[in-house]
């Protein structure tokens, strides 16, 4: 993959992009000096932009609501964010810049575990609390005691997918098709494998791809010949869309399923609604949830973004800022050690994605929902409690 011409080309591209000034800093640049500054690094463009944008819009909404309610500790909240273009090697630099130049009190981000893992050591070393809205790989918070997340983790997601495959899909033989370039995908595949095998299931094939590939027919043909009952694809939506479409083209009719990396409208655009019949994924939030906090969030989001319905990433982006705000209020200060302790003590905070309690590993334990795609629309199937 890393051939010299590709590397040189991408370096040059990066250079040109830097010169062109692709990164943006937002939110009242010359705001009051004694504002509380919250930083965010996000995938606003590139491969996972649908996730980054949703999450970012959720966070933006939360900050606006906070400021409309008079800010935090009597000070306005200033929001500084920067785009990492969904590429590796940018997030650490952005984190450093936000911490040293913008003097942020806390860092929010990212949707992809791989990029959260790049920024986390920087936040930990500078003792700036970091909250990831939706990175599910366990390694993210293992980085250190200043790193938190407001979503469930892959061991939980893997376990519930194993249970779902066995109980709802009644699948005995599973093929796994994972992205070797994404820690999220590798991790989720692994956390699915163990409980599924322990429950008496059988893994008949394990094929791999590299995120950004376009042709998956060779692997899918190999999978098809082993006749699995279902195929698990723990990837991100751009690749998953092509995989589902090509699987159906090859005459694979069994269900395909995966994790929260699937959830984006682009999935339906790329794969087409017909190919997606009989596919399922687990996620953090459903806009059909009747919980009052969730409904209030859905209504506010629709009002703010021209009727657009929020997805899980938006809800988690919102919750990440709100959990932080809650901790700042309880700490009564933005001093880093106090804020860290307050975050660690978060218990039963009623957010858009349900009650958030941060455990000893600084991970949130909360219920998951299973969604299917029917006639080109995402549809709620069931909720699975932790």
């Amino acid at each position: 993959m890393n051939t010299a011409p590709v590397r040189i080309l991408s370096l040059l591209v990066a250079g040109v992009a830097l010169l062109a000034g692709c990164s943006k800093s937002g939110g009242g640049s010359e705001a009051a000096a004694d504002a509380i500054v919250i930083g965010e690094f996000a995938s606003l463009t590139g491969k996972e932009a649908a996730f980054g944008q949703s999450s970012h819009k959720g966070t933006q909404l939360a900050i606006e609501e906070l400021n409309a309610a008079g800010g935090l500790l009597g000070k306005p909240v200033r929001y500084v964010y920067e785009d990492n273009r969904s590429t590796p090697g940018e997030s650490a630099t952005i984190a450093k810049k936000l911490i040293s130049r913008d003097k942020i009190v806390a860092l929010l981000g990212e949707v992809a575990s791989g990029r959260s893992l790049e920024a986390a050591p920087i936040a930990q070393a500078s003792k700036v609390p970091m909250i990831s809205p939706s990175s599910t790989n366990p390694k993210v918070t293992e980085t250190g005691d200043y790193i938190f997340r407001v979503c469930f983790t892959d061991p939980f997601q893997g376990k519930l997918l194993a249970e779902f495959a066995r109980r709802t899909l009644k699948a005995q033989k599973i093929a796994i098709f994972s992205d070797v370039a994404a820690p999220y995908s590798v991790g989720l595949a692994q956390f699915f494998r163990e409980p599924f095998l322990a429950g008496g299931g059988q893994i008949v094939a394990e094929q791999k791809y590299t995120g950004g590939d376009k042709d998956f027919k060779a692997q899918l043909t190999a999978i098809k010949s082993l006749k699995p009952d279902a195929i698990m694809v723990p990837g991100y939506y751009t690749d998953v869309g092509l995989i589902v479409a090509q699987a159906r083209q090859l005459g694979i009719t069994v269900p395909l399923f995966g994790g929260d990396g699937w959830e984006a409208p682009e999935l339906i655009q790329i794969a087409g609604s017909e190919a997606l019949q009989g596919t399922y994924y687990s996620t953090h939030f459903s806009p059909e949830n009747t919980d009052p906090v969730a409904q209030k969030f859905v209504a506010a989001y629709r009002a703010r973004y021209g009727g657009e319905t929020p997805d899980a990433m938006a809800a988690l982006g919102y919750d990440s800022a709100m959990v932080l705000a809650d901790a700042i209020r309880r700490a009564g200060s933005t001093e880093s050690a106090k804020l860290r302790d307050a975050l660690a003590a978060t218990s039963g905070y009623a957010g858009a994605t349900g009650a958030t309690t941060l455990d000893a590993n600084r991970d949130a334990s909360k219920p998951a929902v299973i969604i299917t795609v029917k006639d080109g629309k995402f549809q709620y199937v069931e909720t699975i409690a932790p």
């Binding site: 273009r85 791999k208 590299t210 376009k214 043909t221 098809k224 005459g251 682009e266």
Partner: protein
């Protein structure tokens, strides 16, 4: 057995697209002795032109698809001529290295312009052709998209051969490739022939872009880089400058990649493709179908 045949079809379909892009590299190299690295980005522009043109035609109709295909081929042909006029013509007669570096510059310009204009997010390419799957006994499946790739590649391959071997302009192209000074002495308008070559090569890139996007319907401004490099490998593998060689090289590369993946080495697919390039340069620098040429001093 079915699996083997299915993999064979997968490999050939992938290879046919590489072949189509490789034809453009080979055309320009054959005439000018210069690798046009911007070719892979003209391929991207072809896919994006198709994306925007498809808004004006009914989807999944043959007439609409043909309109989009021809439309973006024309757009890219014009783009190819403009690139040649502005970027390469002023440097003609300088060292090949200068032209090569300019080509890389044009490539980066197109990529970043693409990101500026279209955004860096992948877009989904609409279904242009009617989509159908043909299932054979034993579960062998061929999709209409794959058939389309074979058909268009073959058609363009023969059209190209005909143009180069049987027409006046083709004769002029060969004369120019043989000796530019002598060609102009006997009345060949070099500028016009070179413009034509770029128009033809870029139109082929556009066709490749459309077919690639219909088979893998997710397009972005950097989509050309990897297929472009692979097609370059294919062109060198077959013998750069040789039209049949580009086709053979593309098919071989597609089959090699598919075999590597089928054997479980999916993470090595790109590495193997580029290892093929190194091997061919070491063992047979003129490619599979290339002829050894005496270096002029």
């Amino acid at each position: 057995m079915t699996e083997l045949l299915q993999q064979l079809i997968n490999g050939l379909a992938l290879g046919a697209i590489y072949a189509l892009i490789a034809l453009g590299y080979t055309m320009v190299y054959g005439v000018l002795r210069f690798i046009n690295f911007a070719h892979s980005d003209v391929f991207m522009v072809g896919a994006f032109s198709g994306y925007f043109l498809s808004r004006y035609v009914p989807h999944e109709s043959v007439a609409g698809a043909v309109f989009v295909l021809l439309g973006s081929m024309i757009i890219c042909a014009v783009l190819g001529v403009v690139i040649e006029k502005l970027a390469y013509r002023p440097l003609r007669g300088r060292s090949t290295l200068t032209a090569l570096i300019t080509a890389i510059g044009v490539s980066l310009l197109l990529q970043n312009l693409g990101q500026r204009l279209f955004g860096a997010n992948p877009r989904s390419f609409p279904a242009l052709f009617p989509q159908r799957q043909f299932t054979f006994e034993g579960g062998l499946v061929i999709s209409s998209g794959q058939i389309m790739v074979f058909a268009v590649t073959l058609l363009l391959l023969f059209a190209l051969r005909h143009i180069v071997l049987k027409t006046r302009i083709g004769t002029a192209m060969r004369a120019l490739s043989f000796n530019p000074v002598a060609a102009s002495l006997v009345g060949v308008n070099n500028d016009r022939v070179i413009s034509f070559t770029f128009a033809l090569g870029s139109a082929l890139a556009a066709a490749g872009g459309i077919l690639y996007a219909t088979n893998y319907p997710s397009i972005d401004p950097l989509m050309g880089t990897l297929p472009g490099l692979k097609a370059f490998v294919a062109a060198v593998l077959g013998g750069i400058g040789n039209i049949a060689g580009a086709a053979v090289g593309g098919l071989v590369l597609g089959l090699v990649e598919t075999t590597v993946v089928a054997l479980g080495g999916s993470t090595y697919r790109d590495a193997v493709a580029f290892a093929v390039l190194i091997l061919i340069l070491l063992l047979r620098p003129n490619g599979l179908l290339g002829k050894r040429q005496a270096e002029k001093v």
